[in-house]
Symmetry: D2
Subunit: 389 residues, 4 copies
């Protein structure tokens, strides 16, 4: 269990790009990073408006001289300090992820970045190379990747409790953009603008989340080919889609399905994953993240609860409170940041063994997400043909 005892020797000196006073996601990053004494916030370029950014940073306890007007200045000036930043989190619109991540890696910083990392596989491969060259971690914030019940699912599947895996059904389908809310909401506006959001809206924005969960649960499953159909039910969003279906054939014969949507009217969040095997199924839903449904054919369905002694040890080590008490999104993110910290620390200490023991969504997950979106768009824009993966 986590109770505040840190697992790394020193907190990592950390900064943010974006995440200012108008940003909700910035708050989530900070809550996650600062939760367990693994990061300490010492600098930031929090806002496109430098004055507002500084005021906000100071209020968070950051020295005024380390509240920077832009990320390039920050990387440059922090590099000169003995106590300069070691890691940076990027919480800005999609269109800026690539250049900021690139600059951060080149400045020798570990990076935590919102997905998508960038818009093309080529860019993504470029970032992978930089990450290897500079030996820096790139963490991608698939928020529930570190959730204890995702670990539990992974362990149960690995132990064969589902039999042969036949199907993986994923969805992330909310309804908040059923109407053209972008007219009023800036936070939505850039998401449906190809210049800022890239080649897709919901495929990248929501679909990649459960896709990554499937990668955690089923590390050996490889997509062979996929087809995709995408729609812009709010017509002004075209060419970006607000709804999409992706059907996937995996190596070995299993099938995958992803439903990505922002127009599932009345649905709150709707991130779900169901893995179906020859013997049993597992199902998890992020709106009730403390429960995992385990359904063995011919037996009563079971509801596994987070925090209970019957879970796999790997599904218990990141608990912050016992079973019955709800943990939520913030704990899942804190788990993620904890793992980023462990990976950064292991890298800094050149402890490859420790590094390999940390499971987190890193640069490979980032590349994979970009590739998946690219392939989906290729299929969708060609009358839903099958596209090799």
């Amino acid at each position: 269990m986590i109770n505040g005892s840190r697992r790394i020797p020193q907190p990592i000196r950390w900064a943010m790009v974006g995440g200012g006073s108008q940003s909700q996601i910035g708050y989530i990053h900070r809550c996650a990073a600062l939760r367990d004494n693994t990061f300490v916030l010492v600098a930031g370029a929090f806002d496109i408006d430098p004055i507002r950014g500084s005021a906000f940073g100071e209020q968070l306890g950051v020295d005024s001289e380390r509240c920077y007007a832009d990320y390039l200045s920050m990387f440059e000036q922090e590099a000169r300090r003995a106590d300069g930043i070691q890691a940076v989190s990027i919480a800005t619109p999609n269109g800026t992820h690539y250049s900021i991540t690139k600059a951060a890696l080149e400045a020798g910083l570990h990076v935590v970045c919102e997905k998508p990392l960038c818009f093309t596989v080529e860019q993504a491969e470029n970032l992978r190379e930089l990450s290897h060259k500079h030996n820096r971690i790139v963490g991608v914030t698939y928020g529930y990747a570190g959730h204890q019940l995702i670990e539990q699912a992974r362990e149960m599947i690995a132990a064969g409790e589902l039999g042969d895996v036949r199907m993986v059904h994923m969805q992330f389908a909310h309804g908040f953009h059923s109407a053209p809310v972008e007219a009023q909401s800036q936070a939505t506006q850039w998401r449906v603008d190809p210049r800022q959001a890239g080649p897709s809206y919901v495929l990248g924005d929501v679909g990649t989340h459960p896709l990554y969960l499937s990668e955690v649960m089923l590390p050996d499953l490889k997509i062979k080919r996929l087809m995709c159909s995408r729609q812009s039910f709010v017509a002004s969003r075209a060419p970006l889609e607000d709804n999409a279906y992706t059907l996937m054939e995996y190596e070995g014969g299993a099938m995958g399905m992803v439903w990505s949507s922002a127009v599932n009217a009345g649905s709150m969040h709707g991130q779900k994953i169901r893995v179906i095997g020859s013997r049993a199924s597992l199902e998890w839903w992020d709106e009730r993240p403390n429960q995992l449904s385990f359904e063995v054919q011919g037996q009563p369905a079971q509801i596994l609860e987070r925090g209970m002694g019957y879970l796999h040890p790997n599904a218990l080590i990141d608990d912050r409170i016992g079973g019955g008490h709800p943990e939520g999104l913030f704990e899942a993110w804190a788990n993620l940041y904890y793992r980023f910290a462990l990976a950064m620390d292991a890298t800094d200490r050149s402890d490859t063994q420790a590094l390999s023991a940390v499971r987190y969504p890193g640069i490979d997950a980032g590349v994979e997400g970009v590739r998946w979106v690219e392939r989906c768009v290729l299929s969708a824009d060609n009358d839903s043909i099958w596209v090799a993966y």
Copy 2:
């Protein structure tokens, strides 16, 4: 509300083909037909074993001389009686539906038949012609087609409560055949044998059910084209599938999805339909048939309960008990048979106005189901190409 007061002047004289002592579905037909004094069971060819069939029929109160060895004898001899049968229900394996239905229509009988009516659209059209020629009803047993909350959904959609319909998601996905149970179970054996089951297993056996619900709820929605991918996860079932995905484009831009499966391990029944509009969604699940979820974007989700005064009048007339008390599958089937009786009676009385007021799955629904399966198989067997509808 239904309380036993019959809405037709005389009960219809009725027989069964199949549905003997080993048959569970036969019991369901009888419970439904006899529930409301609209049918009276007077004859039958209940069993492929005539002696066993007679014994069973007599025990049900059928005169021994009207327990027949086979359906042809029954049709012939009953035709000679002044009090001969007027309608017949067919509860035999799929492969026999076509010839029995044909013979029944030619004998001037109304028919109730399990789906699929037959294996090809050509046969189906042939039956449609016969039905028109002889002016007889063919009822197809889509069990929940007459359910009150399906009526409620239809009325709400018609009234525009969902806005423009954008998506229709259907599934009928149970797990009972996750293992090759056909080795032990005769009831499963014929379903995975193309000679007896026709060109598909789950598409026809389960997928057509929610498809028909969508036709009831959305009478104006027309499929433009579809693509299908099907799998035989239990390999010995090939070429018949035990799992399939069908993606549909409707005229006007809405999308449809049907997941048909018998290998959704751990799932009990899993028939669901969700209709998503620009304003709100409706969702219904046959395992909790007394509830209908109504989710308006930006408002609290609502749970509509069968039998409550806030429902549309058309969703209340077939109640047998007030809200709060669960009705189940048998009441849904009884509604269906009630409607078959009303349609048969109106036809016999040449009351076309009354006939047109009865909503039931008739010959057109039967043809449509066969066509949909045929199109799905055509796509699936051609690497999931889009097939015009």
Copy 3:
């Protein structure tokens, strides 16, 4: 499984008192009795208005000469026929149950009666005596007493799967009478009138239902003493209560709690029972009757589904359809009537062994219900003192 094959040699000749064209409960009785060829409806005094009663009876297929103006005439004239009735069901307001049941027993008839049988323990004991003297069955319609999952619970408890039983929590708490609806509804009016309803409203009308379920599940549990607090939240109902709490101490130290209510605003039906043992708990809810929750401390909660092979054989014999398909209230009632038929038949054949194998709510259950209400009222009317049982 039940498929229409009758388990008794001949259907029992059966009549109704009450249950006419305005009655919903009459329809439920008929659906239940006629479901499995165990009863045949041959006579009736269906209505306080004889002309309306006759019309309705004839429409149900009863000979007009056997549609009687009142129950006394019916009992008298049927007694003279060789094919006269053998059993009668009573579906009239509470205040008439005692005298009709008494007359029926004295006429040598088996009886099925709505609860409460009568208003005082003295009357109840009197009926018990008559029942013994005339060797006739008195069945009481606790609707879910014959439900398969109640049987399952009984068997699991008997097998020790819960450990020592510590608590039994019962409730039947709907909200339909939150407002003084009796001003408009005749069906509610008599229930809140002490002359017609007896000494209590909700304690007798709803509370006795889950109480009887506890008697089925826990045959050895004996109430030692109880206390009760009752309220008339709609003041005009006083002295009759529309809400009540009963706390019970059982012999051996277990505790029981019953919440009876008609003013649980917004609740549909709300009949629930939870049995808590030292090892595990069971919970059942009549609005989702096909599921039984089994919660072993320290293990994942399990959802047992009706109709599944993992249930006790005694929980499977009364299935009418396999698991996954919802059975509802009507099947539960049909089970009940099936058992009444088996008990009547065994009694008529003097087969005491067969009789003792039939579990059904009989005269003892009827007496017990009356006693419990009497004790509750005694406590409630004396400032909730503990009353020995």
Copy 4:
């Protein structure tokens, strides 16, 4: 929404008594206090073992000289510092709460204390006096008291959406102590030892939680009298109870019921509150804290979701993330500590208007909890007589 912008001018200098490396609740206090820059941890007497306590404190970033061996030393030495602590949280076994709280108040500190504050009403009144005399805040950690949906319920009730409140049903009934786990678990051991736990186990430990929620939701409801029955199902726990029922009559005729239990086998947490009015009911469950059920009699039940625009403004200001994303226990506690900070700050600034606008469980709530337990025990130990309140 909360995004890290502090609402008070300076963080409050804060210390802990208890909450060391073995303590889970200590972690929760720290997560809550440190979440929003309102408190800064500068000192502590974290552990009964001073060396272990210091090591842990330093690891949390506390100066070693401010890691004290015991709370008296801490209060004394911190009082001498210009930057000494302003507030202290007490996370020690029940038996020590009174003396530590007393000492803290006398040292001029604001206090946050686990409930129960003490064991007798006399002690509680004494603490209230001290709190007033020294003008210091005493916050009591009823964890969900600051939850947004509890605020929503309060506002809806105040606005009359339920009509007249008739019943308040509360429960906190888990199953983790169904077996005598105290033999193995120190954390449980002291809870069932009257010397350390006081006059009750579950009434105080769990029952007071939903009781306080009812006080928040229904500020005008006053208990008139109550009766209580308590049991020690694990016999060795006597005289302390592991299960209890409390029935309450409120002024004005409403009824209350509290079920407190640690032996509700198989239940995870089981804190629920249902408020029933003449028009509608509200229900909330701490295992699904993001949903609030609103059931208007005669209308479809509604599920209100945290974070949605249709909620009352007061139910939105403490959101940390939008609707659909689950917040959990840690956010509820953080809300609580936020409010403690606002109250402490307002007190320090002598801003009585600001102080009166902060709703939090303070000294009055603490006294009330102690009184309620005392009254329950008095009733329970006198054969469940009614006890005036």
